[in-house]
C-alpha cells in the first residue's frame, strides 16, 4: 500500500480535501516552486523581502491542522532542513498520483501503529530519558570531546539574538559557557578530539548580522514564527576557537555557505558542506533559478586540513549533500545525500578522499543527520518515515545491508542523534516535552542499550529498494 493510500485511509476526512483541492491547485506548477512559495509565505529568513505572493491554499492549512505536531521550531542539524523541503514533502504526498513521487514509500502515516518497528517501545533501547538543556528557547546538536567530559552544542541564549550560538557544557558539573561571539548566526560545532579547539560556522563578520537579528526579532514579535530560520547564508564561514584562549581563526573565505563541519578522529581534518559551487562559476539559467529556489541544491561535501588549508571537494552529484562526519576509525565519512528534487534523503558513506561512495539506506523518506556509533557497527540517523509530524531516530547497520530499525517511539520531533564516545548514552534533539507553547527542540539524553541495538539490527530484514537504485 502506498503512502497516500494509507494517509487517506487513516484520515478519511482528508481524502475529499486532497482529491478536490489538489485538482483545484495547479498541478503543472513544479513542486519545488510551489513549495518555495508556500515556504516563503510562512515567512522568509531574516533579511529577505517579505513574500508578497499568493495566499496559502486552504488545503495546506487543512493539512497542517492534521499535523499540529509539526508546528515546531525545529532544530535541524547538518541537513538544515528548511521549511521548504518539508512543504515539498507535504506537497509530494498530495501530488503523489500526478508526480509519482514517493510511490514506493510504504511507511504508515503519523500516528498509525501499524509498522513492525512499533512492536516495541523506545524504552527497549533508551532508559532514563531526560531533558538535558532548559535555558533559552531551543537547543540542539550536541557533540562530545573524546572523554565525554565536554559537550559542544548550539542554543538560542544570547539576549537580542534570535539565532543559535555555540556553547560548551561540562558534563560533570553542568557548567556552560559560550564559545561563539554572540552575534549573527552560528551552527554546527565540533570539538577537535586532539587539541580541544572548537570549530563552528558563523556569520558574525557580516556587518548586516545585527540588522538580521533585529528583523528576526521583530518578525517574531509580530506573532509569527518561522518554521525554520535557515537560508544557507553565503556569509556563513567556518571558524575555529582556540581551546585555551578562545581566540577565533577563520578557516574558509570563499563566498558560499560553508558549515556543517566536523573533525577527523586524529584532529587533522575537517569535513564540511559548502554551496561555494553556486557562487564561484557562471551558472546557466536553470541553475540560476535553482539557486533562487533553494541554494542547498548546490551543497557538496568538502574536506580541508584543520588549519583550513587544502580545501578539496569530495562529492559531485546534483542535490544537497551535507552533514558529514568521520567514522570512529577515521576511514569513512558518513553523510546525507538529498536527491535532486530535494524530497528524499538517504545516508551514504565514502572514503575520506571521496572514493567508494556507498548507499547505506534506501528508505524512501527524508533520512538525515547520520552519526556512526562508537562501536563502528551502526549508524544512527533521523527520518520522517512515519510521517511529517513525527521525525524519529532510526539506526541501520553500517554497511546498509538491512532495513533501518526504529529507535524513538514518542510523538513529536526526535532527531540529530549523537552517542557519547563510550557508546553508552545517546543525546538527541526532541520536542517531546513541548507543552505550553514551548514546542521547541531541546537536547535530551538517555542511557543507550548497545547490546539490544545489535540484537535488533541483527533481526532486521534485508534492505528493500525504495529508490530503484542499487
Amino acid at each position: 500500500m502506498n503512502y497516500l493510500a494509507r494517509l487517506i485511509i487513516a484520515n478519511p476526512v482528508a481524502s475529499s480535501h486532497l482529491g478536490y483541492d489538489v485538482m483545484g491547485a495547479n498541478p503543472s506548477t513544479p513542486p519545488r516552486q510551489m513549495a518555495y512559495n508556500l515556504g516563503n509565505n510562512r515567512g522568509t529568513s531574516s533579511g529577505a523581502e517579505p513574500f508578497s505572493g499568493p495566499t496559502v491554499p486552504t488545503w495546506i492549512s487543512d493539512l497542517e491542522s492534521r499535523f499540529p505536531r509539526y508546528q515546531v521550531d525545529m532544530v535541524v542539524r547538518r541537513s538544515k532542513l528548511s521549511a521548504k523541503p518539508v512543504y515539498v514533502l507535504l506537497l509530494a504526498a498530495l501530488l503523489l498520483p500526478f508526480a509519482g513521487l514517493l510511490a514506493q514509500a510504504d511507511g504508515p502515516p503519523s500516528g498509525q501503529q501499524t509498522n513492525e518497528s512499533d512492536q516495541y517501545d523506545e524504552s527497549v533501547l533508551l532508559s532514563r530519558i531526560r531533558q538535558l538543556t532548559f535555558e533559552g528557547r531551543r537547543a540542539g546538536e550536541g557533540y562530545f570531546s573524546p572523554d565525554g567530559s565536554q559537550m559542544v552544542f548550539q542554543t538560542e541564549r544570547v539576549e537580542g539574538n534570535p539565532y543559535f550560538q555555540i556553547y560548551l557544557m561540562d558534563m560533570l558539573t553542568g557548567e556552560t559557557r559560550r564559545v561563539s561571539p554572540g552575534q549573527g548566526k552560528t551552527t554546527c560545532a565540533f570539538i577537535n578530539p586532539v587539541t580541544g579547539d572548537i570549530e563552528f560556522a558563523s556569520t558574525h563578520h557580516d556587518p548586516r548580522s545585527l540588522e538580521y537579528q533585529q528583523a528576526e526579532l521583530e518578525f517574531r514579535a509580530s506573532g509569527q514564527e518561522h518554521r525554520m530560520a535557515w537560508d544557507y547564508d553565503p556569509e556563513m564561514e567556518i571558524y575555529v576557537a582556540d581551546a585555551e584562549t578562545g581566540e577565533l581563526t577563520r578557516l574558509t573565505d570563499v563566498r558560499g555557505y560553508d558549515a556543517e563541519g566536523s573533525y577527523s578522529p586524529d584532529g587533522e581534518w575537517i569535513v564540511f558542506a559548502s554551496t561555494r559551487d553556486a557562487y564561484n562559476r557562471e551558472l546557466n539559467e536553470e541553475e540560476k533559478s535553482a539557486l533562487e529556489v533553494d541554494p542547498s541544491y548546490f551543497s557538496e561535501i568538502y574536506i580541508m586540513r584543520a588549519d583550513g588549508s587544502e580545501q578539496t571537494r569530495l562529492t559531485n552529484v546534483p542535490g544537497y549533500d551535507g552533514g558529514p562526519f568521520f567514522s570512529p576509525d577515521g576511514k569513512k565519512i558518513v553523510w546525507r545525500q538529498f536527491d535532486e528534487g530535494g524530497l528524499l534523503a538517504d545516508v551514504w558513506t565514502m572514503d575520506p578522499d571521496g572514493s567508494n561512495p556507498h548507499r547505506v539506506t534506501d528508505f524512501g523518506a527524508m533520512s538525515w543527520a547520520p552519526y556512526v556509533h562508537p562501536s563502528g557497527q551502526y549508524v544512527l540517523f533521523a527520518s520522517n518515515k512515519l510521517g511529517f509530524s513525527n521525525f524519529e531516530v532510526f539506526m541501520v547497520d553500517v554497511e546498509g545491508e538491512k532495513e533501518p530499525v526504529r529507535v524513538t517511539t514518542t510523538d513529536g520531533f526526535d532527531g540529530l542523534p549523537v552517542p557519547t564516545p563510550d557508546g553508552k548514552t545517546l543525546v538527541w534533539t526532541s520536542t517531546r516535552y513541548g507543552a505550553e507553547g514551548r514546542q521547541t527542540g531541546q537536547l535530551f539524553t538517555a542511557d543507550w542499550n548497545h547490546e539490544k541495538a545489535l540484537e535488533l539490527l541483527e533481526q532486521a530484514p534485508p534492505r528493500k529498494s525504495h529508490s530503484g537504485s542499487q
Partner: protein, 635 residues
C-alpha cells in the same frame, strides 16, 4: 562534618582573580556528595546516599510526632528535632534572633458566643429575638458588633464584573447603603452550564460579603434557599485560617425558618417562588426592599488564637570569600514541617476507619524537611558568597501561615533575598521524575536548573506557574524569584496512609542534592536575577465558589505539564472511580469543556451539578476514551 577541612581543600583562597568555575565546581560537586556521607568511601557522582533522609522521614512521620499539627505538641517535638539537626550542621539562629523558633499567631478556631437577630415590624408579635446555633451563626470572617437597619433582598448576591461572558448583577437597581442585605447562598442552579460555572465562581460567601460591603451595606445575612442542597440549614462554613480575620462587615448565616419570618413581611412573598425565578436565570427582577421591617444584628464571635513556630536556621556566607558583599546576600530555602495531626480539622481526606487516625505526612512534608536538612548539610560544606537561610515552616496546611508570617515580619530584609527554593512533597520520585514548579518566576531558573541537573540526572518536568498551594507562593507574592520541587500527588495524599515506607529515599536524596546545587549556584551568582510577575490565568483569578457543591472524587496531579489534567488518583468508591477513571488518566474534556490545565478543570468543576451526568473524555496510555461521571454530594 567539619566544613573547614573542605574549605581548604577547595583552594578557593587562591589569589587568582579570575574564577575557573568549571574546575572549581567539579570539586564542589564532588564535595556535595562527600558531605552527605557520615563515613566511608566517596561514592561515584550520581549515586545517592539516602541514610540521613530516611532517618529524618522516619522520625518526623512516627507516632510520637502525631502528625505535626501546627501548634501541637507533636509539632513542637518536630521543631526540636529540626533544631538539633540544624545545630549539628553548624547552623545558627538568624542574626538578631534569639532562637531558631520564630513564633507566629494564628486563628485556630472561631466560636459564636451568642449572636442574635432582632426583627421589628408590624407583622411581628412583639419583637422576636432570634438566637442560637440552629437559627443564626456569625460567619467566621465577620466583624463583631451591632447594626440596625432595613432589609434588602438581593437574590444570590452575586456580581459578575463587566467584561465577563455572562454579566450578572444581583444588585442592579438596588440601593443597599446602610441597610442589611439578605441573600441566598450558592448560585442559580438551572441556568445553562457555562453560565452556572461563571456564577458559581463568584458565589463564595466571603466574596458576597465583600460585595455587600463595597456597596455600603451594614451587614449580610445568608440563607440556604429552599431549592438548594441542605435547604434552610445554617451554613456550616469551614473555618479557614488563611482567610480569617475581620472583613469590615457583619455577616451571619440564618436558618430557613428565620428567612421565612423575614418574608412574612413581604406580601405574597414566598422565598421558594422567588428562588425558582432566580434559578431560571432571571437575575434582575429579584432584588427588592422588604417592607415594614427593621432588624438589629448583633454578632458575637470569638477567634481562638494559638501560636505556631517556624524553625529558621542560618548558614553565614563563607568567611574566605572575596570580602565584597554580593548584592542580595541571602539565599532562602524552605519546607513546611507541619501536617494535619489527626485530620480533625482542615483538609483531611481520610476515609472510613482512617478517620481520626494520625496523618503521618511522610511525603507531605517530612520528605521536604529531610531534603532541606540534607541540602543544608551540603551547603554548609560549600563555599558561598551569600548566606543561606534554611526555613522550616509551620501552618502550611492551614494556608501557608508560617511563610506568610515570615514574609510579613522577615528576620532578614526580603529585598535582600536573591531567591527562594521550596520543597513540598518530594518523597515519591517515580520513574526518575521530578517536577520543578514556579519556573516562570525568574528567567534565571532554566539555567540553574539545567546546570544543576546535569550531574543529578532527573527527568525534570518544568512548570512555569508560580500560583501554587504551597509556601513558595508567599515569596512569589513578595516578588522574590522562587521555585518549588514536587514529586506529585497520590492516593495517600492527606490520608493516614502517607507513610515512610512509601518514600523513595534514593530519589529523595537526589532531590536534596539537586536543590543544594541550585542553592549553591544562587549563593554564588554574580548577577541578581529579576523577578518575573507571571500573569494569572482567568481560572486563577476566579475567587472560587462556595465550597464545591458537587463531588467528583478526582485527585488532580498538580505536577507536570501535560495537555489536560492528569489524575494523581481517584477517591475509592467516588464518582470518578465509578466512572472507571484511574490514576494516570489525562482528562482532556469535562462537561463539554476542553481541559488543558488545572484551571480549566477547576472552572469546569464549577459548572457541574449533583446527580447530573457529565461526559468525560480522557487519555489512557495515549488512547482516547469517553466515560460518564455523575457527581454526588460530598460525603
Amino acid at each position: 562534618m567539619n566544613a573547614a577541612i573542605h574549605h581548604t581543600s577547595l583552594g578557593r583562597r587562591d589569589s587568582d582573580p579570575v574564577r575557573k568555575p568549571a574546575a572549581y565546581f567539579t570539586l564542589v560537586a564532588a564535595l556535595a556528595i562527600v558531605t552527605s556521607i557520615p563515613t566511608g568511601a566517596v561514592p561515584a557522582l550520581g549515586q545517592a546516599v539516602a541514610t540521613d533522609v530516611r532517618q529524618h522521614v522516619e522520625t518526623l512521620a512516627s507516632d510520637e510526632f502525631e502528625g505535626r499539627l501546627t501548634g501541637s505538641e507533636g509539632a513542637s517535638l518536630a521543631a526540636d528535632y529540626i533544631i538539633s539537626q540544624l545545630r549539628s550542621m553548624g547552623a545558627a539562629p538568624v542574626p538578631g534572633q534569639a532562637s531558631f523558633r520564630m513564633p507566629f499567631e494564628f486563628t485556630s478556631g472561631v466560636i459564636d458566643t451568642g449572636s442574635s437577630l432582632t426583627l421589628r415590624g408590624e407583622v411581628f408579635d412583639g419583637d422576636p429575638v432570634l438566637q442560637g446555633a440552629e437559627v443564626l451563626q456569625g460567619l467566621p470572617f465577620s466583624d463583631n458588633g451591632e447594626v440596625s437597619g432595613s432589609v434588602v433582598f438581593a437574590g444570590y448576591g452575586i456580581t459578575v464584573p463587566p467584561g465577563q461572558d455572562y454579566p450578572y448583577d444581583s444588585y442592579a437597581n438596588l440601593d443597599v447603603e446602610d441597610k442589611v442585605v439578605l441573600v441566598l447562598r450558592h448560585s442559580p442552579e438551572d441556568v445553562e452550564r457555562e453560565m452556572r460555572a461563571t456564577l458559581s465562581s463568584y458565589s463564595g460567601l466571603r466574596r458576597k460579603a465583600m460585595r455587600a460591603r463595597e456597596l455600603g451595606a451594614k451587614a449580610l445575612l445568608v440563607v440556604t434557599g429552599p431549592r438548594s442542597l441542605n435547604a434552610g440549614k445554617i451554613a456550616n462554613v469551614r473555618f479557614d485560617s488563611a482567610a480569617s480575620g475581620g472583613s469590615g462587615i457583619l455577616a451571619a448565616s440564618i436558618s430557613g425558618d428565620v428567612a421565612d419570618k423575614v418574608f412574612t413581611a413581604v406580601p405574597n412573598g414566598s422565598l421558594e417562588q422567588i428562588q425558582e425565578d432566580l434559578d431560571a436565570g432571571n437575575p434582575h427582577a429579584a432584588g427588592f426592599d422588604i417592607p415594614g421591617l427593621e432588624v438589629t444584628l448583633d454578632i458575637a464571635i470569638e477567634r481562638e488564637t494559638d501560636t505556631g513556630y517556624n524553625v529558621v536556621g542560618f548558614l553565614p556566607a563563607s568567611n574566605d570569600t572575596s570580602g565584597v558583599e554580593p548584592a542580595k546576600p541571602y539565599v532562602l530555602l524552605g519546607a513546611h514541617y507541619d501536617h494535619l495531626g489527626r485530620g480533625r480539622s482542615g483538609n483531611s481526606m481520610a476515609r472510613g476507619d482512617e478517620i481520626g487516625e494520625i496523618h503521618y505526612g511522610a511525603d507531605d512534608n517530612a520528605s521536604g524537611v529531610a531534603a532541606l536538612l540534607s541540602a543544608g548539610v551540603t551547603l554548609a560544606g560549600m563555599n558561598r558568597d551569600r548566606a543561606v537561610v534554611l526555613a522550616f515552616w509551620s501552618g502550611e496546611e492551614m494556608g501557608v501561615l508560617g511563610s506568610t508570617a515570615f514574609v510579613e515580619e522577615p528576620p532578614v530584609p526580603l529585598d535582600q533575598v536573591i531567591g527562594y527554593i521550596n520543597f513540598d512533597m518530594v518523597g515519591r520520585v517515580v520513574d526518575n521524575k521530578l517536577t520543578v514548579q514556579a519556573v516562570g518566576s525568574s528567567d534565571i531558573w532554566p539555567r540553574l536548573i539545567e546546570q544543576s541537573n546535569v550531574p543529578v540526572g532527573f527527568d525534570l518536568q518544568i512548570q512555569e506557574d508560580p500560583y501554587l498551594p504551597t509556601d513558595s507562593s508567599s515569596f512569589n507574592n513578595a516578588g522574590i524569584p522562587n521555585i518549588s520541587m514536587f514529586t506529585g500527588t497520590h492516593e495517600d495524599y492527606h490520608r493516614p496512609a502517607d507513610l515512610p515506607e512509601d518514600i523513595n529515599y534514593e530519589g529523595l536524596e537526589s532531590v536534596a542534592r539537586f536543590g543544594a546545587l541550585i542553592g549553591y549556584r544562587l549563593a554564588n551568582l554574580s548577577e541578581v536575577p529579576a523577578f518575573v510577575q507571571v500573569a494569572r490565568s482567568a481560572g486563577q483569578q476566579m475567587g472560587g465558589g462556595d465550597a464545591a457543591r458537587a463531588w467528583t472524587g478526582t485527585i488532580p496531579d498538580f505536577g507536570g505539564e501535560v495537555e489536560g489534567l492528569r489524575l494523581g488518583g481517584v477517591m475509592e468508591g467516588g464518582p470518578a472511580a465509578e466512572a472507571g477513571l484511574q490514576q494516570g488518566d489525562v482528562i482532556i474534556e469535562f462537561a463539554d469543556q476542553q481541559i488543558t490545565n488545572i484551571y480549566d478543570y477547576t472552572y469546569a468543576l464549577e459548572s457541574v451539578k449533583v446527580d447530573e451526568p457529565v461526559k468525560v473524555v480522557y487519555l489512557r496510555d495515549g488512547e482516547r476514551y469517553e466515560t460518564v461521571l455523575t457527581p454526588r454530594v460530598r460525603q
